[in-house]
């Protein structure tokens, strides 16, 4: 039984159609996103399912998870707040922003709130340097940008999630 293949048959077919038939492996990254959408993170089972769909050994799928930062092999918060503290943002107060955000959330960078709702992470440049401080929010569904932020605006967003978990 291949859960992903069965549940997302048409989506998988559409993804595979993007690439030449003898290069199915190219669909590995889109399918890893799909697995993350389905399971919250890339489970061992997901690796096997993807490897079956693409007809490559599971190692060739699994190795991608560690290389690319947007894939996870263990669960985290439902919302991953990823604050850019790279050089241009840091020149515009991103590090202080991150510190205060963490204080407000009561967690350290890399940690998840006890309710499992939020993980705060520090990331490299997000291509929004003119609108620092900024962060992106990664969920199983995808990624959204939040720019020109203040701790107040960020906490407002957090409260909407908390009230509607």
């Amino acid at each position: 039984m291949n859960h992903l293949r069965e549940k997302y048959a048409s989506e998988i077919e559409a993804t595979l159609a993007k690439y030449p038939p003898d290069h199915k492996r190219a669909a590995a990254m889109p399918l890893l996103y799909l697995a993350q959408r389905e399971y919250g993170y890339v489970t061992k089972q997901a690796l096997i399912e993807i490897s079956e769909i693409l007809d490559v050994p599971p190692t060739e799928i699994g190795q991608l998870v560690g290389f690319y930062t947007l894939y996870y092999d263990e669960p985290g918060g439902k919302y991953r707040i990823q604050v850019c503290t790279d050089l241009p943002c840091a020149l515009r107060g991103a590090e202080e922003f991150l510190e205060q955000l963490c204080e407000n959330l009561g967690i350290q960078v890399g940690e998840t709130t006890p309710d499992g709702l939020i993980t705060v992470e520090k990331v490299m440049c997000l291509a929004g340097c003119d609108r620092a401080p900024l962060f992106q929010v990664q969920t199983a569904e995808g990624i959204t940008y939040h720019e020109n932020q203040s701790v107040e605006s960020a906490m407002k967003l957090v409260r909407t999630w908390q009230s509607n978990p």
């Binding site: 990254m29 996103y33 991608l64 690319y68 790279d86 241009p88 440049c125 340097c129 003119d130 990624i143």
Partner: protein, 422 residues
């Protein structure tokens, strides 16, 4: 009179990211013209004549690159590099949000020029929303008969697909990008062979930056001579300068190549935050050498020849402004951490060298170092130089070596504050 925008045209024309609006403003006429009335080779020649150079960083002449495509090996591919991950770079994103069809049209013309029937847009994973928007727009183009089979009644067919990366700066390097697009680790390939000979799926491939491609429709529509009327002799055209750091008005500025740093920073960027003194400039994002921001530097034209004369590179023209409040040990700690985090690990000097540099700079920054460590850092960075498989490793040394050479006082001051180490 203000010059109309060429690439950031959405700033002049509202809703340009709507297909109807874009077509009302002449959109896709260049593509139609190319496909229906120009031979592929003619398109290449026009782009060659325009002197357009790649906007992804290396500044390689675009038409020349297209002419390298191996016509003995088929199919061909074109890949738009929308990985935009260099710290301080945020122009491709604005193009794809505000003026996406001009970029897509450029991609389509490039595809026609090398007779590719499939093109990919490789976007960094963070551009998830952007990718979904592009997918919808590509669908609109299909519906409008601008993509698909037998376009304009000719034999030419074209499809475009987006592909999302997943968080790796190195995937901006074109061969790493191709590996990633093939579903592998984003590690650079050995070159030669270059992508126009052996690229995606082993086939001849052209990789171009989003901004580069956005220039193409105008060049085809208005001609090479018109394009050459902007910019300098060797660096024709306009460029989007991404201005960030300690300026009052950061943002994207579309200006002719050859505009001075002074004009960008002080006129467009409205000067330094808090009225502080400018100290240094990074012209190519985190990959830059640090330019001492003296009068000579400020009056230097920003183009592919003049910036190297300052011991730096224009790269993707991501201008990060540093003011007097910033100490260089803090700054290069930022860049070193970035490159250490992004090193793909394939080659020894970059993998080990960035890791080692990180330890030394952390020590210096923590106050546990002495002047020997500063010298060791210089040694290690020099040791990485000239030995790496791809440019990332080399980039990692640019800020470090130039900071140590050009701002030694910052490091001397830092270690002087401290207890002798060990």
């Amino acid at each position: 009179m203000k010059r109309p925008y060429l690439l950031l045209r959405h700033r002049d024309i509202p809703d340009l990211n709507d297909l109807t609006v874009y077509r009302q403003n002449g959109g896709f006429e260049a593509f139609r013209k190319a496909v229906t009335s120009l031979q592929p080779q003619e398109v290449v020649e026009i782009v060659k004549a325009s002197g357009l150079r790649g906007r992804g960083g290396a500044g390689f002449p675009t038409g020349l690159k297209w002419s390298f495509i191996d016509n003995k090996n088929w199919p061909h591919y074109v890949v738009a590099n929308a990985d935009e991950s260099e710290p301080g770079t945020f122009k491709d994103r604005e193009i794809m949000e505000g003026n996406p069809f001009q970029f897509l049209e450029g991609l389509m013309i490039a595809s026609y020029a090398v007779q590719a029937n499939v093109a990919y847009v490789y976007l960094r994973g963070e551009f998830w929303q952007l990718a979904h928007q592009l997918d919808r727009r590509i669908q609109q183009l299909h519906n409008a008969g601008l993509l698909g089979d037998r376009l304009f009644g000719t034999d030419y067919s074209l499809r475009i697909f987006t592909h999302l990366g997943a968080g790796a700066y190195i995937c901006g390097e074109e061969t790493a990008l191709l590996e990633s697009l093939e579903g592998k680790l984003g590690q650079p390939r050995l070159r030669p062979p270059f992508p126009p000979a052996v690229g995606l799926f082993g086939k001849p491939t052209i990789v171009n930056n989003v901004e580069t491609l956005a220039n193409v429709p105008l060049i085809i529509e208005r001609g090479a001579d018109w394009y050459r009327s902007f910019g300098t002799e060797k660096s024709p055209g306009v460029k989007i300068f991404c201005l960030s750091g300690r300026v009052n008005r950061p943002g994207n500025y579309e200006l002719p190549l050859g505009t001075t740093f002074r004009e960008l920073i002080f006129e467009h960027g409205k000067g330094i935050l808090g009225g502080k003194q400018i100290k240094a400039i990074m012209a190519a994002g985190a990959s830059s050498a640090l330019i001492v921001a003296d009068e000579r530097a400020l009056d230097t034209p920003m183009d592919y020849e003049s910036v190297p004369a300052l011991g730096a590179q224009l790269g993707s023209a991501s201008i990060i402004v540093i003011d007097e409040t910033v100490s260089m040990d803090w700054l290069i700690r930022k860049t070193i951490h970035f490159f250490q985090h992004e090193s793909c690990g394939k080659c020894t000097p970059c993998r080990e060298g960035t890791y080692w540099m990180k330890h030394i700079i952390d020590r210096i920054h923590r106050g546990q170092a002495n002047q020997n460590d500063v010298e060791l850092l210089y040694d290690v960075a020099s040791q990485i130089r000239g030995k790496c498989l791809c440019a990332l490793g080399e980039f990692s040394t640019e800020a470090v070596l130039s900071a140590l050479e050009r701002f030694p006082q910052d490091f001397a001051a830092r270690v002087a504050q401290q207890e002798p180490a060990l």
